[in-house]
Symmetry: C2
Subunit: 213 residues, 2 copies
Amino acid sequence: MPKRGMLIVLSGPSGVGKGTVRKAMFDQGGTDFQYSISMTTRQPRDGEQNGQDYFFVSKEEFEHKIATGGMLEYAKYVDNYYGTPLEYVQDTLASGKDVFLEIEVNGAMQVREKMPDGVFIFLTPPDLMALKQRLIGRGTESMAIINERIAQAENEIKMMRNYDYAVVNDQINLAVERIREIIRAERLRVPRVYPDYAQMLESKQVENVNSEN
Amino acid sequence: MPKRGMLIVLSGPSGVGKGTVRKAMFDQGGTDFQYSISMTTRQPRDGEQNGQDYFFVSKEEFEHKIATGGMLEYAKYVDNYYGTPLEYVQDTLASGKDVFLEIEVNGAMQVREKMPDGVFIFLTPPDLMALKQRLIGRGTESMAIINERIAQAENEIKMMRNYDYAVVNDQINLAVERIREIIRAERLRVPRVYPDYAQMLESKQVENVNSEN
């Protein structure tokens, strides 16, 4: 039985650049993990390929999947469904390959409930840390705008607490490299490698007993 | 107040090459963390410098430190004490710098009890995973030797469970790079970065209230 793959979830606030970072990482290559393509009921846009950008399905098909527990996570925006089919993720993990999801924060929390041993990475806007300096420094914003920005930052910071790692998206290539390092380090975590060692030893002992017969 | 530094502990079975890997890492440079020098009561060997290789102290001084809670961890081998002075580690962490310890497995477990939020890395011998293949493949070892090797491997594997990461020391440079990646990834862990964000926001809100006066 191959070692089970690892689930990696990249998420973060709307507009932080999750898709851009994910695309840059896979375009660079050297990604020895599988990107899980989302499913949607919206119409393909020009140039979008079924099975590459999305799996495009009918509303009936999507709702049937939801009803039969076939979605790992999903959400409805405007009138369209978006989500991650469970079967593909499960099959890929079972084959020993790591799976990479890039999804919205609500979806990420659904996945966290179902697969708590995944690696959950929160992409943060570069200005979250510089917020204070900026707002004070400029002194041009109205109190209303400042308060709105602070409320938004508060929400984003609270979201972060549900994740394992926080990666600042200050430069796309730096963000990609940090994500790659997190994945490489996570592969060395004892709870992930220990079963291999334990199994190796067990099978050795069986061999041993046999050789004494 | 600066952000508290992170404690990194490298350990592993006797003879696995902990010292060689640690030395290679610091010789390469680019280590933005502090190596914590051990204290010992043994005599300096030729070329060993006090405060560089070890802090060389008298038996009385070492035992006084133990008695007054001044050692983070220690052990006695033959007639000599070896250990890590607590004060240096605490001061360095408090100044915001990460501290790197390279110690024996018993010492690592003492540290784990006192500083459970440290990063504990277990260096494994490269042959642990190849053990089964080797023993079966050669077919030359006596059962006594095979059983001894298996018992030893079992002990080493059990030790691993008390650590966060397992790094195979197959090639020194690869082991060093894995340790560096673990450290970089650990710095992005939410429990480590979250206090910074929370504090930033809080101080912003105080500024805000003030500016309304």
